[in-house]
Symmetry: none
Amino acid sequence: MGITQRKEREKEGMRQLILQAALGLFRDRGYDAVSIRNIAEAIEYSPATIYLYYKDKSEIFFALQYEAAALKRDHLLPVAAIENPWERLVEFGRRYVDFGFKHPDLYDLLFITRAPMEYVENQECWALGMATHSFFSETVQACVDQRYFKSTDTETIAYTLWCHAHGLVSLFVRERMRMYPEEKRQDLAQKSFSMIIKMAEHL
Amino acid sequence: MGITQRKEREKEGMRQLILQAALGLFRDRGYDAVSIRNIAEAIEYSPATIYLYYKDKSEIFFALQYEAAALKRDHLLPVAAIENPWERLVEFGRRYVDFGFKHPDLYDLLFITRAPMEYVENQECWALGMATHSFFSETVQACVDQRYFKSTDTETIAYTLWCHAHGLVSLFVRERMRMYPEEKRQDLAQKSFSMIIKMAEHL
Amino acid sequence: MGITQRKEREKEGMRQLILQAALGLFRDRGYDAVSIRNIAEAIEYSPATIYLYYKDKSEIFFALQYEAAALKRDHLLPVAAIENPWERLVEFGRRYVDFGFKHPDLYDLLFITRAPMEYVENQECWALGMATHSFFSETVQACVDQRYFKSTDTETIAYTLWCHAHGLVSLFVRERMRMYPEEKRQDLAQKSFSMIIKMAEHL
Amino acid sequence: MGITQRKEREKEGMRQLILQAALGLFRDRGYDAVSIRNIAEAIEYSPATIYLYYKDKSEIFFALQYEAAALKRDHLLPVAAIENPWERLVEFGRRYVDFGFKHPDLYDLLFITRAPMEYVENQECWALGMATHSFFSETVQACVDQRYFKSTDTETIAYTLWCHAHGLVSLFVRERMRMYPEEKRQDLAQKSFSMIIKMAEHL
DNA sequence: CATGAATGAGAGTTCATTCAT
DNA sequence: GATGAATGAACTCTCATTCAT
C-alpha cells in the first residue's frame, strides 16, 4: 500500500518537474519555439522519457493551462465571500491584476500565448475559465441590479473592465512598459487600477 | 551617379518585395510558421536570394517590426491636424484600435510578440514607437491643460487609456474573446470604446 | 522433480503465448510493423517480460520460423498414409498450396522472407524443412519407379512441380495477382493446380 | 546551352546514384528496413540531399520499380518480332526467366518486394507491367487459336506458365535452393524450363 | 544578381532494450 | 517472475544557412 502511494507520488513529482520546466521555456521562448528535447534537457532526462508522462507537446501545454486556470481560480475564489457586489467587483479586479503580476508566466499561458486551443482535451480548462468569467459577469450584473452604475449594459461594462485589466497586465507581462522606469511600473499600475475604479463609479 | 541611384532604388524595391511577402505570410500563419523558403516561393526567387538582402531571418523580423511601426505612425499621424485636444485624443484612440483590428499581425508584432527587442538594429523602430507614444502623452497633457479632466495626473490617465485600448485589441488579436459569438466581437469592442470615452469625460 | 517439470511446462506455456501473439500480429501487419511492445500489449504483459523468454526480437523470429515449419509439416504429414505414390504426390501438392493460402504469413516466413537464415539457432528449422522436402522427393521418386512418368529425371520433375506450386502461392502471398479480380484468384489457382496435375501425367 | 545540358546530366546522375544505392539496400534488407538515412550514407551524402531529388522513400521505390519495369519490357520486347506464336511464347518465357536470373534485385522489386503499391503515382509502372502481361496473354491466345494446345482455357494456361516461371525465378532470387549445390542451380532451372515447355505441348 | 546544390542541426516521435526493484 | 522507468539510437522530414558557379 505504502509502495503504491510512494510510486504514485514519484510519478506525480515527475509530471510536475516536466510541467515546471515546460512552463519556464514556454514563457521565455513561446510555445512554438520550445521542443520536447528542450524540456528534456532542462530536466536532464532523455526526450523519450517525456513521452512516458505526456502523449505529446500539446498535452503538456494543456496540463499547464489547466494548472494555471486552477491556480487563478483559487486566487480569485475568496472574493465570493464578499457580500457587497461593488466591493466584490473591486476586490476581484485587484486580485485578477495581482495574479497577473505574481504569475506572469501563467497569465501569459492563459491569455496571451498562441497555441492549440481547439482540441477537446482542453475543455476542462476552458470550462474552468468560463466559470471564473461567469462569476465576474454575475458580479457586474449584481452591481447593475443594485444601481451601482447608471449604465445597465452589463456585458459592455464587464468587457470594458476586463480590457483595462488585461491591458494592464499584458503590457507588463510582455514587457511593453519600457518607456517607464522599472521601479515606477508597479506604482503606475496601482494608480491606473485606482483610476479605473474611480471611473467606473461614474459609469 | 544616376546608375548608383537606380541600383539603390532597385535594391530597395527588392527589400520591399521581400518584406511584403513576409508580411502576408506572417499575417496568415504566424511568425514561427513562416520559413525563408516560404517567403522565397512567394516572391518566386530562390531562398539564397533572400540572403542577399537580409542577413538572416531575424533581420527580416526587425525590418518588419520597423515597417509595422511606420505603418502605425502613418495610420495615426493624421490626427495631429485636429486642433481640439479632446477630439484629437478620441480620434487617436479610435485609430489606434482600428489599426489593431485591421492589422492584427502588425499589432501583435509591436505590442505582443516576445522578440529580441534589445538589439541595436531595432532602435529605429523603438524610436518610432516612442515618438508616437510621446505624441499621445502630449495630447493627454493638452487635455489636462485645457481642463478636460478633473484629474491632473497626465501619466496615469494616458497609461489607463492605453491599457484599455491595448486590452481591447490584444484580447481580439490573441483570440481570447471566444466566449462572445464571433459576429458580436467587433460590436462589443465598439461599444467598449464608446464607454471608455464616456468614462474619461468624468476623469 | 515435479516442481522443475511444472516450472518448465509453465515456461513453455509462456513462450507459446508470446509466439502465438506474435504470429497473429505478424499475420495482420507484417513482420517489420510488429514491435515488441505490440506483442507485450497483446498478451497483456510488460515488454520487459518478453525478454525473460526470448533474448531479442530476432530470436522470436527464429522461433516463429520453426513454428511455421512444424505447422507445415503437420499440415503435410497425413499424406504419408496414402499408399499410391501418385495419389500421395497429388495430395501433397494440394496440401502444400492449401497451407500457403491458409497461412500466407507463415508461408512467407518460410519461403519468401529474406532473413538471417545462416545462424545456428535456425538449423532445427532448416532440418525440418529438409525432411519435408526429402519426403516430397521420395514421393516423386516412387512415382518414377512405378512408371507414372515417362521422364525419369526425378530431381527435375520434383523441382518443376515445386516451382509451379511456389509460384502459385507466392504470387498470391505477395499480392501480384492484382490483374485478376479478387474473387477469381482462388478459382484460378484451383484451375491451375488441376492443370499442372494433368500436365504432369504426360511427363 | 551546354551548361544547362551538363547540369541536367549531373542531376540525372545524382538521381541514378540514389536509385542504385536504394536498389541494393532494398534488395538486401527489404523496403521497410531501409531508411532514407541508410541510402544517404551509402552514397555519402546527407539525408537532406535525398529530399532534393525525391519527395520521400516511396517515390524512390516507385522510380526504381518503373525503371525495373522498363528494363524488363526492353528485355522481352524483341520477341514480338517472332511470328510463330508458339516460338514466340517459348522465347518469351526464356527471356522472362533470363531477366530474373540476370537482374535478381529488379525482379525482386517487381514481383516479390512488399511495398506501397496502391498509390496513383505508380500507375505508369503498373501500366507498363500490364502491357507486358497483356502481350504474354495474347501470345498464349494466339497459340490457342492456332491449336497448339488441346485446352482452350487461355487464362489458366497463361497463369500456369507464369506460376512456374515465377516460382523458378523467385526460389532462386530469395535463395531457397540451398538444398541444391550452388553450381547445379542454374542447370536445374534450365532443365525445368525445358520440362515445362515439353509439358505445355501436351496441354 | 541570382541560384542550385548541399548540409548540419534539429523537430516530433517510436523502438528495442536494460535494469533496479 | 514480472515490471515500471528510463534511455540511446533510430526514424522521417524541414529549416536556416552557405557557397561555388
